[in-house]
């Protein structure tokens, strides 16, 4: 009675203060129910509000009717009851019931005052609009204990409680009732539902030896029942030192048919209220994923299901004191479902018993990122190292039939590396061991992606472990393989540079791996990679007859190289070798020429910035670019400018491998006007644009007299943009010419 009075006083204080702005704003149930009556009063009122208000009033009337209803009113004879009952049902289905309604309705339904048909209809309409107050559930459990209502209503109530469990606002008092629920296990009909409810309620402290024994007795009586298995495996999860169970692999659902008539209505209400009301969480019992076929027991390829490392036998031994001070409660990883849960429990999380399972669990990867614990990495290192070696499709005989599985595994590893933005050392070692045996086709894309994640270290033997085996495959494989290798090495370079940038920012962080990486060591390792790519690119261009596709991937690599100083803050600039530069300059394809121009423009920007820093001595110059870099840049630029617009090709190129040719020799080719043959009009890559330009400027001329286009004029007035206008992609050429002209005009 006391509780009831309190409840009614609460209702009188806040008589369902909900004012809707319009009919669709149903989330106001929640707002109004909780706080902020003033705000809702201030809202504009409209005719539809009044309609809502009348609904409101009728629900209020219905609730106060049910609050006062007397024993055994017959439904058939009582129009008032009928009216109020249908009001409750209608509103419940439309937008759910406010928190205050539950206490009243549950009290009526479970006290057995009314006929079972009414009670059933009442329980069925208990759809929450927002939350369900814990108090109302607790008082209904007390009704359950005195069993005033019929068995059917009891069952219905339990099923309802399971379905709406996540909507209950607090659960502390409910947890205190664990023993009461447990005692309902005796009831044969209720048992499956009670198991489900206990499954939702169970915490570590609920698992007691006497309860384990009761459940095992029950198991002996009813045999293998899925609901019992589920509860027992949860017990095992919390206390493996008390009970253990192996779940059969086939099982899919553990609790049948508990959703009842509410689930659909709740979903509708939630959709209409458009709120992030709690979703009931899926069951996760930590069974291993079904294996497609029989394999050895020590196969590691199957990523273990998460299972908490509850190896706390000491606790068992010192049970008494632990029970007294059990504050260091930890959350089993199986229960970890959302990011907010991770944040709330980050202090009391435990890693799974097998570290391999973090690979497929982004939340645990997040957690791993925060916890810099050597043991965690070591466990993962051993597991991954053994798995990669044991399951490698080309290193181990007879493994090739499992190639698809191995591919999936490598994909998983790669995804985890991307997530952590960090390569696994086990994976790096695996690559070094297995690349010499690799045929270049088995799991190709996976392996090349993993190569791009090799961590940057001061490792001086990269050449023999990575570059040599890769080069062998590179030279003997197809064009497409070459392109894939180049792409993967570009990503490797970018990853290293990004890592360097991040590390510069957090230099004070005493990260284990940053300690032994000095700047000069790092510069050397990066330079070694760039030189390697330069060498294989030169050879590959010859092997593949200067393929445009290949050139694209090579120049793509240099787009990163040319910006290392400004974009990645690394005092290193390496020019492409002549074997790459000249094929690009003389390419038949405007894409390559344009890429080259862009790259040269970025080299210039980087070199100018470096020079300025050097002059102003803003920084302590531990490293300065060698004069050779500037010299090489200048030689290339002279070659480009003389080809592209000063029309002095073959004349001014001073690069030892450059385009300098004797006039006599050139005359023998019988090509007229060879000096202009590579300017931006006549260059084979630009010819198409020149034709378009002519057609626009001189629409009547059909002789294609390119002489009409004056290159110097174009360049000086900036009209070359018109020439390039049609080629939307020729931005590189544009910025290169612009920057070069600026320089000329500045100098004059």
């Amino acid at each position: 009675e006391k509780m009831e009075r309190r409840q009614s006083s609460k209702t009188s204080k806040q008589p369902l203060q909900v004012r809707h702005e319009n009919q669709t704003d149903l989330s106001a149930w929640r707002k109004g129910g909780k706080t902020d009556p003033e705000k809702s009063v201030r809202n504009r009122r409209s005719p539809s509000d009044q309609k809502n208000d009348s609904k409101q009033d009728s629900l209020e009337q219905a609730l106060s009717y049910f609050e006062k209803v007397q024993d055994h009113v017959s439904l058939k004879k009582n129009d008032v009851l009928q009216k109020h009952l249908s009001t409750v049902e209608r509103i419940a289905l439309q937008r759910g019931l406010p928190p205050e309604a539950f206490d009243v309705l549950l009290n009526v339904a479970l006290s057995g005052q009314l006929a079972d048909t009414v009670n059933t209809r009442l329980v069925k309409s208990l759809i929450p609009a927002s939350v369900i107050p814990e108090n109302s559930v607790v008082s209904s459990v007390s009704w359950l204990c005195v069993s005033k209502c019929s068995a059917n209503i009891q069952l219905l109530f339990l099923r309802w409680l399971i379905t709406v469990f996540d909507f209950i606002d607090h659960k502390e008092q409910l947890h205190a009732l664990y023993g009461f629920f447990f005692s309902f296990l005796q009831d044969e009909k209720m048992c499956p539902y009670v198991c489900h409810l206990l499954y939702l309620l169970t915490r570590k402290e609920s698992v007691k030896p006497f309860r384990v024994r009761r459940l095992l007795d029950l198991q002996a009586k009813v045999g293998m029942q899925s609901y019992l298995q589920a509860l027992l495996s949860l017990y095992k999860l919390f206390c493996p030192e008390l009970v253990t169970i192996t779940l059969p692999g086939k099982m899919k659902t553990y609790f049948k048919n508990s959703e009842g008539p509410w689930k659909a209505a709740m979903n509708t209400v939630r959709q209409r209220n458009q709120e992030n009301s709690p979703l009931s969480q899926p069951l996760f019992l930590g069974t291993s994923q079904p294996q497609s076929r029989k394999r050895k027991w020590n196969t590691q390829l199957i990523i273990p299901a998460s299972s908490t490392n509850k190896n706390n036998l000491e606790e068992d031994r010192e049970k008494n004191c632990v029970d007294l001070y059990s504050t260091n409660e930890s959350l089993p990883v199986e229960k970890l479902q959302t990011f907010s849960q991770l944040l709330q429990n980050i202090h009391c999380l435990e890693f799974p018993s097998q570290m391999g399972s973090v690979l497929t669990n982004p939340l645990l990867l997040h957690y791993m990122n925060c916890i810099k614990d050597e043991s965690i990495y070591l466990r993962l290192y051993y597991w991954m190292g053994q798995t990669l070696q044991e399951e490698c499709s080309w290193c181990v005989a007879d493994n090739n039939r499992y190639e698809e599985e191995f591919k999936d595994f490598l994909d998983t590893v790669y995804k985890a590396e991307c997530f952590l933005q960090e390569g696994f050392s086990a994976c790096e070692e695996f690559l070094y061991k297995s690349l010499p045996l690799w045929d270049g086709s088995c799991c190709r894309s996976q392996i090349l992606r993993l190569v791009s994640q090799i961590p940057l270290s001061n490792f001086s033997e990269m050449k023999s472990y990575l570059y040599d085996p890769l080069a062998q495959l590179f030279f003997t494989s197809s064009l497409y393989f070459k392109c894939s290798v180049l792409e993967s090495l570009k990503e490797l370079l970018q990853n290293w540079l990004n890592w360097h940038v991040v590390n510069l920012d957090s230099e004070s962080d005493s990260q284990a791996h940053s300690l032994n990486t000095t700047l000069s060591g790092l510069v050397n390792v990066v330079a070694e990679l760039i030189h390697f790519v330069g060498q294989i690119s030169t050879v590959a261009l010859r092997l593949e007859n200067n393929s445009t596709l290949l050139l694209y991937f090579i120049l793509d690599f240099y787009e990163t190289v040319c910006d290392t100083y400004l974009r990645y803050n690394l005092p290193l600039l390496i020019m492409p070798p002549a074997g790459v530069f000249y094929p690009a300059l003389l390419s038949m394809d405007s894409v390559s020429l344009n890429q080259l121009c862009y790259i040269m423009y970025r080299y210039r920007t980087n070199l100018v910035a470096a020079k300025e820093n050097e002059l102003t001595k803003k920084k302590i110059l531990q490293f300065r670019f060698s004069s050779q870099t500037y010299q090489e840049y200048n030689q290339y630029t002279i070659a480009m400018v003389s080809c592209l617009w000063t029309s002095s090709a073959f004349q001014k190129d001073i690069h030892p491998q450059g385009l300098c040719m004797d006039d006599e020799l050139l005359k023998k080719t019988a090509v007229q006007e060879f000096r202009t043959s590579f300017n931006i009009v006549y260059h084979p890559a630009m010819m198409g644009y020149a034709v378009l330009f002519l057609q626009q400027g001189w629409p009547d001329d059909t002789t294609f007299n390119f002489g009409l286009i004056k290159v110097r004029f174009l360049v000086k007035t900036g009209n070359f943009q018109q020439l390039c206008r049609r080629g939307r992609g020729l931005k590189g050429l544009k910025v290169f010419i612009e920057s070069s002209i600026n320089r000329i005009s500045q100098a004059s």
């Binding site: 008390l242 253990t244 169970i245 779940l247 027991w297 190896n311 053994q386 798995t387």
Partner: protein, 285 residues
């Protein structure tokens, strides 16, 4: 004490390498036995829960073998034994050993020195008994201590090392013959060649090859084997160097390339284990 390890002799042990055990404590062997025993029961009757600590059909004993280690840095070996209790003999506690396995490390510094304290390095695992039990026990260890098991095969190169090393060992009694088994590759029917040598002849040959007593080099092993091969060729015109060495049996021990070993002399037990520990570690690292 040779008595305490005598039960390890004259049994076929299948070899595995094991990565360091995480969170293992040798003070809790009793608890491990209880949990493993319940785990075995649960695995056998999939779907039925088993209480930990009650008497079950399969009894598990986990104990430590403190004699089996090479140095103070090594962890004491751990022995796991499964014995079956038939319901009839429950009262007179008659038990039959059905499976045994042991973890050990003899001079395993190469692994243990860089590993943090919460890891236990016992890189070599030896098993005798039904594969079904190996799989259950192995899975339990994998799940509980986050370790990985891999079969440890012995390469022909390592087998020839064993042949040379064991030939040089002194054995008191009149020893049995040294036997080398070779397998000819790429034949439709498998062809095994058994090559038996009188132990004293083998010892005499080895003594001429080995330069410094107590030290063996790869070169010496190669010379020793080449001598045996050329002797065989002289008689049978078969180049054994073109076949694969699959098994070595001496009075000390016998080893098969599939990773199976039989210890025959307790005084050389730790010596053989030292070599096997080394092989296991190289498979882990």
């Amino acid at each position: 004490d040779p008595q305490r390890t005598a039960f390890l002799l004259r049994k076929r042990w299948t070899l595995y390498s094991v990565t360091p055990l995480y969170g293992f404590s040798s003070a809790r062997l009793r608890d491990y036995a209880r949990m493993l025993s319940a785990f075995i029961a649960a695995e056998k009757q999939k779907g039925l829960a088993v209480e930990v600590g009650v008497e079950l059909d399969i009894k598990v004993a986990v104990s430590s073998l403190p004699d089996l280690k090479g140095s103070d840095q090594d962890q004491a070996a751990i022995l796991v034994q499964l014995s079956s209790r038939s319901p009839a003999s429950l009262k007179n506690s008659e038990e039959k050993l059905v499976w045994s396995g042991w973890f050990c490390s003899v001079i395993g510094d190469a692994l243990s020195q860089d590993v943090p304290h919460d890891f236990t390095c016992l890189p070599l695992f030896l098993v005798n008994g039904a594969e079904s039990y190996t799989s259950i026990v192995g899975s339990w260890f994998q799940k509980t201590f986050d370790c990985c098991f891999r079969r440890l095969a012995i390469s022909p190169l390592n087998l020839s090392w064993m042949a040379a090393m064991w030939t040089g060992c002194k054995v008191d009694k009149t020893a049995s013959a040294m036997e080398l088994v070779f397998s000819a590759p790429c034949l439709p029917q498998p062809l095994d060649i058994s090559y038996a040598i009188h132990p004293e002849d083998a010892k005499a040959l080895w003594d001429t090859v080995q330069k410094t007593p107590g030290e063996i080099t790869q070169e010496e092993v190669d010379i020793f084997m080449d001598c045996l091969y050329s002797h065989f060729h002289r008689h049978f015109k078969i180049h054994l160097s073109a076949t694969k060495l699959v098994k070595v049996s001496t009075a000390i021990a016998s080893a098969h390339c599939d990773g199976i070993i039989k210890f025959l002399q307790s005084q050389y037990l730790t010596g053989v284990l030292m070599l096997l520990t080394e092989l296991a570690i190289s498979q882990i690292q």
